[in-house]
């Protein structure tokens, strides 16, 4: 699968170099409509950035102006003392990093073993993993709440870490097993002849060459945990332990919707993860559809 992709890419590149792009009216129309559509999909976020740079009195000014009349870059400094966003961000960073680590530790051995071995219950295991990918915590939230309560983990980050890891496990297992399977067994066998154990050959031979897959799994888990809302809303009750995704909604009641600060916060929360997510564009679809499309 991977080698085929690369071949296609290479031939595409060769073609691109040979045939220079020539503007025709039809192509210009295509390009123009594509640019407009691109703009449309980032429009709300541009609106967010512009609003985050307005002074408060401009927000409700009449007639309203699209652009800030005086650019308030200070909003990005002031917001830290206006709302406890330092706390929110710390919670999100800790929960997302821990959930990501947990997913890696749990999914790498499973994906590797599934890619390399046939065993009784293998396809049952894969089906179970695939089914969990389809479930979101939302439908199970009452069960999750009661279980978290049973373990005495209400209002803890540990609960968020475990639940998020569980629901993102499937993406990692599917994606990584595809990557591991594409590593020729011969390389590993050579390593084992040289005295490597199974585990060492995984660590020293397989993992380094499947780094893109690992990075994709890491970023995907990090971003989806960062954005998770329902579980955080249900499990975390103290304002000081809220992650950013639910923290910003406390903004709305408590601070009488200070939109400029609300949007500086969402900008701080959105921009980094968008960049991360774009960096794994190539592998997203394969991981999410268990390879059945690409």
């Amino acid at each position: 699968m991977k080698t085929l992709e690369k071949k296609n890419e290479m031939s595409a590149k060769v073609k691109k170099d040979k045939v220079k792009f020539v503007w025709t009216p039809k192509k210009a129309a295509t390009a123009f409509s594509a640019y407009m559509i691109g703009l449309f999909f980032i429009y709300p976020y541009i609106n967010m950035l512009l609003t985050s740079l307005k002074p408060n009195e401009e927000l409700y000014a009449f007639p309203m102006k699209r652009l800030p009349q005086s650019w308030q870059f200070d909003n990005y400094l002031e917001v830290w003392s206006v709302a406890p966003i330092g706390n929110f961000l710390r919670a999100s960073v800790i929960v997302s990093i821990c959930a990501t680590l947990l997913v890696l530790v749990v999914s790498v051995p499973a994906a590797y073993y599934v890619a390399r071995n046939r065993f009784k219950g293998r396809s049952a295991f894969l089906l179970l993993v695939l089914a969990t990918q389809m479930f979101s915590p939302t439908a199970l939230i009452i069960g999750i709440f009661r279980e978290v309560k049973f373990f005495g983990l209400l209002d803890t980050w540990a609960a968020l870490i475990i639940v998020n890891a569980g629901f993102n496990l499937a993406f990692a297992v599917w994606l990584l097993s595809g990557f591991f399977a594409s590593v020729p067994v011969e390389i590993e066998e050579a390593a084992m002849v040289d005295g490597c154990t199974r585990f060492q050959s995984l660590r020293r031979v397989v993992l380094p060459v499947t780094l893109p897959g690992l990075v994709t799994a890491v970023i995907f888990t990090f971003v989806s945990t960062w954005n998770e809302f329902t579980v955080a809303l249900t499990v975390i009750s103290s304002p000081t332990r809220q992650p950013i995704s639910t923290g910003i909604t406390t903004f709305i009641g408590q601070y009488d919707v200070a939109w400029e600060y609300l949007f500086t916060t969402t900008a701080i929360a959105i921009v980094p993860v968008v960049i991360l997510f774009i960096s794994i564009e190539k592998y997203l679809v394969g991981g999410l559809t268990a390879g059945s499309v690409k």
Partner: protein, 307 residues
């Protein structure tokens, strides 16, 4: 070819089948996590739905189908169920209908294509709650940019429309935001499908004199069947489960006017502390998703076998 397809092929000409026991150290942790996070809550949900439970969450013994009876006695349930169906159908069909031409467009060759694709990923990567809040601001009565734009274009004279609070429009606003956040994923799945169509088939039909529309309808579209099917099924589940959009924009209100079965179950459990019927509804929601998941597993199995 699928990931498992490759895995199976590699495995087949390698070692003989191992016992489940020797696999356990490798897949055990994953199994444990799935049991803990997915299976346990599901069983707990079903168990509680058959138990009498107080608003404080104290269990008071077996209740048979009592919670389900209480749920079905609720006069709002029918409207909410119908609305949920409309919600899922509307969002998924609009999303897929718009994503088809969009995928075709960003599959064309033009300068800056990479940046257009990146732009289309943004709503997918950004938090859905935050995106919903931004749309709320854009649609605000007097301070929102949407009404301003309508006025400047001369499409709205006199009273601006209160999109979010006017019951005639609020549901459409929810549909709109849900479509907006669903399009990127759907478009990329269809794009992946388009990219997997071998170039020589297209070139051969060009040689045979087929026009671009004919090529799309007769060759590309049938080959997209699989990608479309999978995008549709995953969307069905996501949209049915969609909680943050509704919660951030209307909380299902006013009253229950914009609730779906998902937000209604949540509201009963965590806002009204009406635990019993909410667990019954939770089980029904779970069963509905389970059904779609089974369909998904069937569909992907067929494609896995083909590979």
């Amino acid at each position: 070819m699928t990931a498992t397809g490759i895995a199976e092929k590699k495995v087949k000409n390698r070692r003989p089948a191992n016992s489940t026991l020797s696999a356990l150290p490798w897949i055990g942790p994953s199994l444990l996590l799935i049991l803990l996070v997915v299976v346990w809550p599901a069983i707990e949900l079903i168990r509680i739905s058959l138990t009498k439970i107080t608003s404080a969450g104290v269990l008071e013994g077996f209740f048979g189908l009592g919670n389900y009876r209480l749920l079905f006695e609720n006069p709002d349930l029918k409207t909410i169920a119908v609305r949920t169906l409309i919600w899922v159908f509307a969002v998924v069909s609009i999303t897929v209908a718009l994503s088809l031409p969009l995928a075709q467009l960003i599959n064309q060759n033009f300068p800056g294509r990479k940046f257009v694709r990146w732009a289309m990923i943004v709503p997918w990567a950004a938090s859905v709650v935050m995106t919903s809040i931004i749309w709320k601001w854009i649609l605000e009565l007097t301070s929102g940019e949407f009404n301003l734009t309508l006025q400047q274009l001369g499409l709205q004279d006199g009273q601006p429309v209160d999109w979010l609070r006017d019951p005639r429009y609020s549901f459409f606003v929810l549909v709109w935001v849900a479509v907006f956040v669903s399009i990127p994923f759907t478009t990329f799945v269809i794009l992946a499908g388009l990219q997997s169509i071998p170039n020589d088939i297209v070139e051969a039909s060009q040689v045979d004199g087929a026009g671009p529309w004919q090529i799309y309808r007769r060759i590309k579209f049938p080959l997209l069947r699989n990608a479309l099917l999978i995008a549709t099924i995953i969307n069905l589940i996501n949209v049915f489960n969609s909680f943050p959009i509704i919660w951030a924009l209307t909380r299902g209100g006013p009253g229950y006017d914009t609730d779906t079965m998902i937000t209604f179950a949540y509201k009963m459990a965590f806002v009204e502390y009406n635990m019993g019927p909410s667990t019954a509804l939770g089980v029904i929601n779970f069963a509905f998703i389970m059904l779609i998941v089974l369909i998904y597993l069937r569909v992907t199995k067929a494609t896995r076998d083909q590979a």
